[in-house]
Amino acid sequence: MSAARTRIPVAGVAESLLVFLAIMALWWLASHQEWVSKVFLPTPEATLASLKEGLFDGALVGNSVDTINRMLLGWLLASLFGIALGAMIGISATARAWLQPTLEFIRPLPASAIMPLAISIFGLNASMVLFVVAFGSMWPVLLATVHGFATVQPRLREVADALQMSRAMFSWKIALPSAMPDILAGMRLSMTVSLIIAVVGEMIASQSGLGQAVLLAARSFRASELFAGVVLLGAIGFAANALLALAEKKLLRWQRP
């Protein structure tokens, strides 16, 4: 994830922007020359116009806010439960031995596959979507926390023993800070997952949000609105990832020499 983050000199930024502009120009040309049918590929101007219209009349703003709310709330729940459960499992070698195989088995299960079960239990509504978002994005945090708690340095354990710390004190004062890099990386991954599942949930359960807006636009062949929605979703994903990367850097500053 951080592999692409290399230091870029100023000349590099200009070149980089030029390449992006070239791609946009190619899009402009392809849509105006109708190399690709306008039904699928709207012109950049039409996309911008749809974006502007949606943002000014508030429809896209409302949808974005709904999707962001769903994503953030699900992510917060996932982080809370993921860290709590992960700490409980990760702190004890016995719990890990008995539970970890089950966790590893559930990890590759597509979160969206839980959705039919959630629909049968909760019905087609917002709380169902929130449950699936939280459940699906809990795994990255949970497994990262288990890993972080399991790999606390033995020396630190000895220090805690020498200080006669209780298990709860040990978790809070030693294990949690030392597991923080793992946990934050897990939380970043889980933010990506929560946006994806929020969009899927909106599409399936027809809950208001960008997912539903994009699907409706496609069904009525309004390609420019579809593209406007995709652009906004990309922007949300970009912003969420950038903010978390920044937070990670700030929170982990103590680790660097």
């Binding site: 290399t6 039919p116 990506t192 990309g234």
Partner: protein
């Protein structure tokens, strides 16, 4: 003897308890429910579906779409990744565009794929390919950048052409890492394929579980859920095995 047997059984204890509680709950408390069924009924539904051939054909469709999408993404992503990894200039130039397109959630493209391809294999393949392209690109780029500089100097001394250098020096030395990228791709491909089927595409395992829910067949729905879990686990383990095998044979770090 007994101790080894116990250790071997240990991973299954917790799932067994869960399934047992669920079985009791659905038999006693939620009997005659339209939404939940006991696991034993799910097993029966699974066997029925297996004999009717539904399981095999749906699983085949999902795995095939995921496989084709992953293959396309791997060729494109690894190819571009090697070029960008070998040339810092090309990496700088594409940096901004990659960072702009990469965060687009793959599922947002499902409606677009529907519009362009209609339902079927191609729409699913296209979404899977988009989703797996980015992680493969990033991981390959990092792998190509980490090729020993001495090896590249050797290739310069030998006056190898660009393609010869890629084929004879870069590719072999980054092979283990290439398989790490492939394994990441496998994990994502299957998840995205099932998601596309659940959201839109009327084929495959995702559609089967959706239909089982909509037609109020909770036993069949649970059967599909377990099956999707098992398929996902087996496919991921196989990919991990392949990655470890390659790492061992090529002598690289895993």
């Amino acid at each position: 003897m007994l101790a080894t047997l116990l250790r071997w059984l240990r991973p299954f204890v917790f799932p067994a308890i869960l399934i047992g509680v669920f079985e009791l709950y659905t038999r006693r408390v939620a009997a005659y429910s339209d939404t939940l069924a006991p696991p034993s009924a799910a097993v029966r539904a699974f066997v029925d579906a297996l004999f009717q051939g539904d399981i095999l054909s749906a699983t085949g469709f999902t795995l095939m779409s995921a496989g084709i999408g992953l293959a396309l993404a791997f060729v494109a992503g690894a190819g571009l990744g090697i070029v960008l990894g070998l040339s810092p200039r090309a990496a700088r130039m594409s940096f901004f565009s990659i960072e702009v397109f990469r965060p687009i959630p793959s599922v947002a493209l499902i409606p677009l794929a529907m519009l362009v391809f209609g339902f079927g294999v191609s729409m699913e393949v296209s979404v899977v390919a988009f989703a797996t392209f980015w992680p493969i690109l990033i991981l390959t780029q990092a792998a190509a950048r980490q090729v020993e500089p001495i090896l590249l100097e050797v290739s310069q001394a030998l006056q190898l052409s660009y393609f010869q250098q890629v084929w004879k020096i870069t590719l072999p030395s980054m092979l283990p890492r290439l398989f790490v990228a492939l394994r990441q791709g496998v994990a994502i491909a299957l998840v995205v394929a099932v998601t596309v089927e659940i959201v839109a595409n009327p084929h495959g395992m995702g559609y089967a579980i959706m239909i089982a829910q909509q037609s109020m067949e909770p036993a069949l729905m649970l059967a599909w859920l377990f099956w999707i879990g098992i398929v996902g686990y087996v496919v991921n383990e196989l990919a991990l095995l392949l990655q470890r095998c390659m790492a061992q044979r090529m002598g690289g770090r895993p």
